[in-house]
């Protein structure tokens, strides 16, 4: 009985802590880092890791790829960085994309929803969904790429961090080989969608 009570309190504290973190964290479009941090590989590598909405969406891409199986499992992490870079280039060249923050939050909702529902659309549809969201994610980051010689190191770090988040998602998605793992991955999809919904509520 006491154990049950203790467990409930711990669970409530964990949920409260998670909610506080979500409410306190800033959405991806607000990634403004001071000049020294944005220079070089470390700045670029750390950049995508500071937005929870980015992190969950990137992991979701990998999770969904693992859920979809070959060839999506390798096609998505290969194509996503390149499409994302196009989105970044659009931002750098000063071309506005409306609703970037809404698009990023929606990506977490849609991708999380796809994982939760174990949706398996045709590969072309999956690639189009992921590609469309990649533009928003790239646009949010691209505007903050520092000009000058550090730009190469920064962008390499930034792309690598994004790619490693995908790979982390794929690695976690391999749990779908087991029945309990499938349930766990689908539950993670629900969590990702909820995080997206929270960020969407803040963005609107």
């Amino acid at each position: 009985m006491r154990d049950q009570e203790h467990s409930n309190i711990t669970g409530a504290l964990a949920v409260a802590l998670l909610a506080a973190m979500l409410l306190a964290s800033r959405p991806a479009f607000a990634h403004i880092v001071d000049g020294s941090a944005t220079g070089g590989f470390v700045g670029g590598f750390a950049h995508p890791l500071f937005g929870l909405d980015h992190v969950v969406a990137m992991v979701a891409v990998g999770l969904w790829g693992a859920f979809l199986g070959p060839p999506a499992i390798w096609l998505l992490p290969i194509t996503f960085p390149m499409v994302m870079a196009v989105g970044g280039a659009i931002a750098i060249l000063g071309v506005p994309v409306p609703g970037v923050e809404i698009g990023i939050a929606s990506s977490a909702i849609v991708l999380g929803g796809m994982i939760a529902l174990a949706a398996r659309p045709p590969l072309v549809i999956a690639a189009l969904i992921v590609g469309a969201f990649a533009i928003f994610h790239g646009h949010a980051h691209g505007a903050e790429l520092p000009p000058g010689s550090d730009a190469v190191a920064f962008s390499v770090g930034f792309v690598m961090a994004t790619g490693l988040l995908h790979l982390a998602g794929i690695a976690s998605g391999l749990l779908t080989r087991w029945p309990a793992g499938r349930i766990g991955v689908r539950a993670a999809g629900v969590g990702i969608a909820l995080v997206g919904a929270l960020f969407l509520s803040k963005a609107i």
Binding site: A85, V86, A89, L93, V152, V156
Partner: protein
């Protein structure tokens, strides 16, 4: 250390420490590693590099070599990511990369002999990196290794596209 040797070492390290050069050489090496005629590609690169150095010796004015290098790195990255093999395109891009890398490496030395030593060092450094990395890439036969190379290619392409946009801004 004599000025000549220092100039040579500066040139040797130049392609290995300039981020744009590293990006394009890595992408080209991965691409050549996927090609059956890897050494033909290395020869094309070396000849184009020599042609670029000749242009420097003949006092060619400032060129947009850095921007060209980034565009070529993006093209190499996309080609590696797509595991696409079109010989004429690969050779053409390899030649452009060699010439552009040379034109983007003008020696800072005042003495003419030191300038030549720098150019020689740059040529050896760039070719050595290509030979070593393409040799490693050519041994990637397992599926996961080939996939890893394609992912690296997509990362290089993405990085080059972003920096290219910064240059063109």
């Amino acid at each position: 250390m004599s000025g000549l040797l220092q100039a040579f070492i500066d040139g040797l390290l130049n392609p290995l420490t300039t981020p744009t050069h590293v990006l394009v050489l890595l992408a080209l090496a991965l691409l050549l590693g996927q090609q059956p005629q890897r050494f033909a590609g290395l020869l094309v690169f070396a000849l184009a590099l020599a042609a670029g150095f000749l242009a420097i010796v003949l006092a060619v004015e400032t060129t947009p070599a850095r921007t060209v290098l980034l565009a070529v790195a993006a093209a190499f990255g996309v080609t590696v990511a797509a595991a696409w093999s079109s010989k004429p395109l690969v050779w053409l891009l390899t030649a452009i990369a060699g010439a552009a890398l040379a034109l983007d490496s003008p020696p800072q030395a005042v003495m003419i002999t030191e300038a030549y030593a720098t150019l020689a060092g740059t040529a050896i450094g760039a070719c050595a990196m290509l030979v070593v990395v393409s040799a490693v890439a050519s041994h990637a036969h397992a599926d996961w290794q080939r996939l890893g190379i394609r992912i690296l290619g997509s990362w290089i392409a993405a990085s080059a596209i972003l920096v290219l946009a910064v240059q063109l801004r």
